[in-house]
Symmetry: C7
């Protein structure tokens, strides 16, 4: 049931490798960092990530994570190549 | 258990490539933008998206995302080819 | 583990093609429109849909969607061939 | 990992075809009607259904659905052959 | 990735056939009755079930279901062969 | 996509057979007992279980279950070989 | 639909074996400890874990778990090789 699409989502993720990315989870956690890995389930590895809590009006820096971390694909809502605007 | 349907949902998505689309997530986030990619799990890539928060009566523009972004198929409730009315 | 049932749900959906349908999602959104497509995951395509918000006592018309839209099968609770009564 | 069970759940559903059934969803919606179809995912088709909202003490008739409707297996908690008691 | 375990859960369920069982769902519904069927998804068929609503301190009999009923495996948290204590 | 890991989770569960285990569910239910069975979905069988409700500060014994019971893998968050500390 | 990514998430987990890890669940539970095992579903085994409850501003040590424990992959949101900062 696969149709030839112009662009596959995993291709877009692949082109973001080694570049900034902004990832938003189902909770109000957000992460910015460098994308260094991913798999078919959109589990991702980011490097030197900053973690943000986003409320009504504000986006607040909560923590900086040196090195790598895994974010589980189950919880990812949005993935924005290029990173977060105005950060 | 597949029956010949007149139109397959993925065909409708495929015909929307390079055209405006309006996507509504399980949370009250909505996105308008140009659809540029998708896969069998209805993960989608949109371009130059506008993000909206929708409350009782209002639909408020929250942010503009230049370039591409991925929206995870798990969280998508509706996808409307042609974009959002009155925007 | 498949038994011969008198009627398969996908057959009922297939017979509703090009006819009015009423679809109720897990949230309090409801849609009426013409069913024009579906797949094995009960993702559906409806045409010229009306969207309703249903509260305690009332069913309120929120919006009319010209053209086609996709509703994700994950969020569909009920699908009623013939459309919504009293609309 | 399949063991010989005395009765398979799908067999019980199959024997309920053309008979009254009572179906309870994860929300507080309930349906009574004639079971006319099902599949391996316990998606079901019922005919001439009555819809009930069940609160603390009361079970209130909300609507009558003439003809057929599909209830998605994802949302079904209980299926009771024979229908609802005291209705 | 299957290891030889001393006892398989489905074997325990199978040995409970025709015996009392106590089943607890994700909501605060509980059922006692005779287990008469099951499948690999832990969908179960119970017979002559009693339904209980369990609150803080009390377990209250809500209804008796003569005959058979299906409980969907998705919603089952616990299954206790032998039935409910003190009932 | 399987890599050689030092220890597989199912091996750890397998080594816990016939030993005390502490299991925590997604709700605030917890169980201690002897692990006697499991399968690939981490459905488990425990024997002579004690059930605990855990609130802010306290862990309260709610019930003792003689014999065996099944806990559905869907609802299991943590499984601790050796049982619960201070019990 | 697998593309050659620079780094696979499971590789990153594999390199963390026998090293400190910080794991955050969907609830507000967090764990630090030594990662000693995992599988393809990101079920993990940690050793000598500390459990933390995280609220608005504070991260409070709740319990120390000697020996091994399993955390179910379904509930894992983040996995940070190297452990928790400032602990």
């Amino acid at each position: 049931m696969s149709l030839p699409a112009d662009i596959l989502p995993l291709e877009v993720i692949d082109k973001t490798i080694d570049q900034p990315v902004w990832i938003i989870l189902q909770s109000n956690r957000e992460f910015t960092g460098k994308l260094v890995g991913f798999d078919d389930f959109v589990n991702v590895i980011i490097e030197d990530a900053k973690e943000w809590i986003v409320n009504e009006e504000h986006s607040e820096l909560v923590m900086e994570h040196n090195g790598r971390m895994l974010l589980s694909g189950n919880n990812i809502v949005m993935l924005v190549p290029g990173g977060k605007k105005d950060v």
